[in-house]
Symmetry: C2
Subunit: 342 residues, 2 copies
Amino acid sequence: MEKQFLGKQSISFKEPVYIQGFASVVGKKEGEGPLGGYFDRVEEDDKFGKKTWEEAESAMQKETAGRAIEKAGLKPENVRMIFAGDLLAQSIASSFGIEELDRPLYGLFGACSTMGEALSLASMMVAGGYGEQVLAVTSSHFATAEKEFRFPMGYGNQRPLSASWTVTGSGACVVGTKKQKIKITGVTTGKITDYGLKDSQNMGACMAPAACSTIFQHLLDFGRKPQDYDKIITGDLGYVGQQILLDMMEQQGYELGEVHGDCGIWIYDRETQDTHSGGSGCGCSASVLTAYILPKIASGEWKRILFVPTGALMSKVSFYEGSSVPGIAQAVVLEYEDEEKK
Amino acid sequence: MEKQFLGKQSISFKEPVYIQGFASVVGKKEGEGPLGGYFDRVEEDDKFGKKTWEEAESAMQKETAGRAIEKAGLKPENVRMIFAGDLLAQSIASSFGIEELDRPLYGLFGACSTMGEALSLASMMVAGGYGEQVLAVTSSHFATAEKEFRFPMGYGNQRPLSASWTVTGSGACVVGTKKQKIKITGVTTGKITDYGLKDSQNMGACMAPAACSTIFQHLLDFGRKPQDYDKIITGDLGYVGQQILLDMMEQQGYELGEVHGDCGIWIYDRETQDTHSGGSGCGCSASVLTAYILPKIASGEWKRILFVPTGALMSKVSFYEGSSVPGIAQAVVLEYEDEEKK
């Protein structure tokens, strides 16, 4: 088979694949943020009608997947396979979320980079001829994440200004072969990048080197400069991580400046929502992608985007044992399909 | 691109891919079992010279990956990407294990089915033209798994006879395009299968329906019968799960009988090692695959094997909240490359 890969870490598809349907579902706080009007559904009840937070996250993920499939004009049985993931131990939000869809599944873990990972693998599967429609879905929930990673919420522990706020949200995309307005033309696979930082309340700083590594390698592999993109959008570096990324890229000779955007910065209002450095979680980049980014590409307002979710690869155990917080970032090239040019 | 898929859940590669190198590293107890002589390395120190159990598991996984790469005659930089996973929350054994290899990574979670998932995706990547060599690696460690899922070991809680023993072990395979004695010719992707069982001390029973579902669909998709395989080998159903699988397959009209094998049954001696239903963990199927199964294929003793690791998709939280334990099973077809026939 002819080689599809490019440079050291990237793949450029000979034939692009397309986003056939996408959907987002978020919680109340996200609905009150600057992007509130863009989500497919804002659920006022953070328990989503369920008894536990974990069941709530599963219900949200299942609904999001279902909406994306429906918006693609498909039924679950038309989906060849699913790539899914979340932040919880043993990925239980996903396992219980998409179980009822009854589709072949590969479970993923990439922390908050998981939507980049899921979208990358879904694209490679479709471009590789392994299925006509493949679903990528991820989620996070503020309450399940607090329970998983931090103190019981009743303790009311103080959050430093560098901390981020886990988004209650989910995003799903159906990737397929049928030509649509949004195409995926390539991916860059991330490496684990570890600068030895240990502060889990400053994940932006922990993840910024990974974002820099993936974006830098992406530009090298594709022979592009930042200005070849309308936006290079990271997942959840937040205000603290963004500044570090801009500085690091500048040291590499690249001026990101206005080209850079960050889902974690966009999703909350800094002045009024008390979310400090910004939003985070697998559901942050996934819900902003599907609510805000993809429609701007579909309308032609943005012609080419680099979507780069970032993940902090840590657990409570690794934190308590004094380990560092390594990062990873997975990049996907999303482009407007200008049919008139063809 | 021409369709590579087959039936409802399977892919049959037009051109097979090959296992270019493989390695196994296990702990002391596994070294004392019936397969003790087959592993590449048996480490007497279950801490692998590290301070914590988690660091020990990471060290083991890293060593296994390194050995597989070396046995393939390669260097880490020749590996295009890695698929890795383990049982721990947020997959920290893998993140810290393979970080130093400095290769592009996709992290996976499929509980004890993860080696099947990693090998499936690695094969699809190579067959899809996305890389010449791709690494699949997983691990588990008795002590990290006890800490993650069960009571502190000092409590000395009783294990029921249906419980399995988490294998301290890791297995790694380099999948590539270069012709070798062992080829991968197809995969069947598993679905989440949930019969509502809730006993995490009887994971064999929880996973057997998933094994049945994947094997049944595999045989349908490929138009084969169990006797077309020298062995159909599940990951860690153990004695309890094996009997359920044989019964369920019989209800579907298939007699597995002598064709069935189970890594969890093979790895420990039932009479002398007090492991009850058998071994389990991502490292169980991975280490038995790389120590025992692959050499038998390479020698031509076995011509065609269906390798079907099974996973129980649960966490402490889902267990305490009274959720069921759904299962999943991922199948890979491994065959002897008889060069003389070509």
